[in-house]
Symmetry: C2
Subunit: 65 residues, 2 copies
């Protein structure tokens, strides 16, 4: 799995540490960290929730050519 730098950048725009994003999404901090590190393959619902909290779409955060 590839690292996801886009989530990290979107977090930075909002000044959200991993913990804040995790709380808003309703998931553990380790889960957010693991996704950013590319350690695993999150569910689409989790991805959608992350997108909503960060004000982005799936294509913006999770799509790559």
């Amino acid at each position: 799995m590839a690292r996801n730098i886009k989530i990290k950048m979107a977090r930075a725009e909002l000044n959200y540490p991993q913990k804040t994003l995790a709380d808003k999404v309703g998931v553990s901090r380790q889960t957010i960290n693991a996704i950013e590190q590319g350690d695993y393959n999150p569910s689409i619902n989790l991805c959608k929730n992350i997108c909503k909290v960060l004000g982005k779409t799936l294509d913006e955060l999770f799509w790559e050519e």
Copy 2:
């Protein structure tokens, strides 16, 4: 989980039965069926693979306002 009619429509455009899509994606037919029925919450990698096979993006198949 909501039913996903968009995958069904994209399949129809290409005349792919569930089995064909499943084979091309490398997953079981039941998994495709369950996703279309909204029976569960697939992983983002599986969603991406479905998108690639159907020639759509994540936003087109999995995003809803």
